[in-house]
């Protein structure tokens, strides 16, 4: 677009300054604080980093956090992709209804959605009443405070983040391509894996990225549904900062979260670009 109104710099400056003061500066401070060796923040040193990286338990927590994110991404894909395919095939009227149904949970507080899963997965919850009512188990299943329960909950909590970009690319795929694929004798499965999914790759990657980022930082869902026995990085950051009041160590754990999440996100984004580039490029 040509320059038609005003100048660019004065318009970006206010938001840029706000980001500098309230986003960049705090993150720099976070890095700085992690280099205090003691929790009183008097001596500089690499003590916190040595303590954090030298303990196998912390590596296990990092691994668990990344794995939780990946499991959530896999579960949302398993259910979200078919829903997106149904959306593609639906009439415009149904598409509007489906879109509303997808957006509604997204705008409903994360805490509300977490609470919903307590009601569903609890000892007297919906699932257990059904299971016991059907005589499938004599005792209530333990679903809360398990990773399975947490992944099921996060699947619902994060699925809209996958679906929004996914529905957007699905809606733009030319239906003629599918007709062509079918008339050339391809089975629907072949069309799905060889035509639809490659074309939808950028949307899938964008969605996976958001789901991963959101599920790994979902402190309240992790602590309320996962319970105290399942330790993920956010709980560690919170505990160290607000309970133990060891800010340098909390900063170190927060940076570990930042770095591990960013690394996986970079991989997902690159994979999406490569898959998309092969088709569109």
């Amino acid at each position: 677009m040509r320059s038609t109104w005003g100048l660019a710099a004065p318009l970006v400056a206010p938001l840029g300054l706000a980001y500098a003061a309230f986003f960049v500066a705090p993150l720099l401070m976070l890095f700085a604080v992690s280099f205090y060796a003691d929790d009183r923040m008097t001596v500089l040193g690499l003590g916190q980093w040595q303590r954090f990286l030298g303990d196998a338990f912390h590596w296990k927590v990092i691994g668990n956090t990344v794995l939780l994110g990946l499991k959530t991404v896999a579960a949302t894909l398993l259910l979200g992709l078919p829903l997106a395919l149904a959306y593609r095939a639906a009439s415009p009227g149904w598409q509007r209804v489906l879109l509303f149904v997808v957006v509604m949970p997204l705008l409903t507080s994360v805490v509300v959605r977490t609470f919903a899963w307590i009601v569903i997965l609890g000892r007297e919850g919906v699932v257990n009443q059904m299971v016991m009512g059907l005589g499938l188990a004599a005792d209530p299943l333990r679903l809360l405070q398990t990773e399975l329960g947490l992944v099921i909950s996060l699947t619902q909590i994060e699925m809209p983040l996958l679906l929004l970009p996914l529905l957007s690319v699905m809606a733009r795929i030319d239906p003629n391509l599918m007709d062509a694929s079918a008339s050339l004798g391809a089975s629907p499965w072949r069309t799905l894996f060889r035509v639809i999914l490659p074309l939808a790759a950028p949307g899938i990657a964008a969605g996976c990225l958001l789901v991963f980022a959101s599920s790994t930082t979902a402190f309240i869902s992790q602590s309320v549904i996962g319970g105290e026995r399942l330790v993920y990085l956010p709980a560690m950051v919170w505990q160290q900062a607000m309970v133990v009041a060891n800010w340098p160590f909390a900063a170190t754990a927060a940076i570990a979260l930042l770095v591990s999440v960013s690394a996986v996100i970079a991989v997902i984004a690159t994979a999406g670009r490569i898959a998309g580039g092969r088709i569109h490029g």
Partner: protein, 280 residues
């Protein structure tokens, strides 16, 4: 709904039937998982018992009455007040600053534009919890005590991307010939912006402001660190109510939030085509 296209083929093979069946089943399961929990919470909030179970044993409004009781639910009311105040300020500031930045960035093509976009969108993918802790350390070490202003500053960063995205999308659909026409008719840049651009992107701005407001109301990672007993925020208070003794008022708060979101979404859908904008 699960009527999947099987164009061309008249005779359905086993593979096609399996395809429609499996995809249809998973899609239905996805819908159930998306909507079911919300309906369960809504139903639970009308229970007449002291424990949270589904289906509720009987219908009553007792938890809503307790929730609306100004004396017994004073802390919740204060948290709601704080949450709405912070959301209004954060969304308002994000809308003004974000719209201005989006207008400027719409014209910055190429590498610089992409970099600026990635920078401003970063709060959307960076772990919010790390940013929340960073903000707490930053403000405390600068000597500030917990305040609503601090929460507004933190929320502003988290909600600005929503405005940038919706306004940016509206701007990209703007027909450049309209701007040329306005200029050739003698309108200056300010006049063109006010009389041509602004009316055309107004729905996008409104949708962005709404999403920013809702994102602030729902925010956990920043409020977790920046709120205090005096500046309590609703999601954090609800977390507390869930952690200790499972207070049935959580269900009533949830029920009210669900109904509010539903009504607001219908209104925004009517005036701004909200969901289409979110799909992009």
């Amino acid at each position: 709904m699960a009527r999947l296209r099987t164009a061309g083929a008249r005779r359905r093979s086993m593979g096609e039937i399996a395809y429609v069946g499996i995809i249809g089943f998973l899609a239905a399961l996805a819908l159930l998982i998306l909507v079911g929990p919300i309906l369960v919470v809504l139903a639970t909030s009308f229970t007449d018992s002291r424990s949270i179970r589904f289906p509720p044993t009987g219908f009553s409004l007792r938890w809503y009455e307790l929730l609306l009781d100004e004396v017994r639910s004073r802390q919740i009311h204060r948290a709601v007040g704080n949450t709405l105040t912070v959301a209004a300020w954060a969304a308002g500031l994000a809308t003004v600053l974000g719209t201005a930045a989006a207008v400027a960035m719409a014209r910055a093509a190429g590498r610089a534009g992409r970099l600026a976009d990635a920078f401003f969108m970063a709060p959307l993918v960076l772990p919010g919890l790390a940013f929340g802790l960073a903000a707490l350390m930053y403000f405390s070490l600068l000597g500030f005590r917990p305040s609503l202003e601090m929460l507004v500053a933190g929320h502003l960063i988290v909600v600005a991307p929503f405005v940038l995205r919706t306004v940016g999308a509206s701007l990209s659909q703007l027909d450049p010939s309209l701007l040329d026409a306005s200029r050739s008719l003698g309108a200056g840049p300010v006049m063109t912006f006010r009389r041509v651009v602004l009316p055309l992107i107004a729905p996008g701005i409104a949708a962005g402001a709404f999403l920013a407001f809702m994102a602030s109301v729902d925010n956990v990672p920043v409020s977790l660190f920046l709120s205090s007993a005096r500046t309590d925020m609703l999601p954090i208070r609800m977390w507390g109510m869930m952690e200790s003794t499972l207070d049935v008022r959580v269900a009533a708060v949830s029920g009210l939030l669900i109904l509010t979101v539903f009504v607001l979404m219908l209104v925004m859908e009517r005036f701004t085509g909200l969901t289409r904008r979110m799909r992009g």
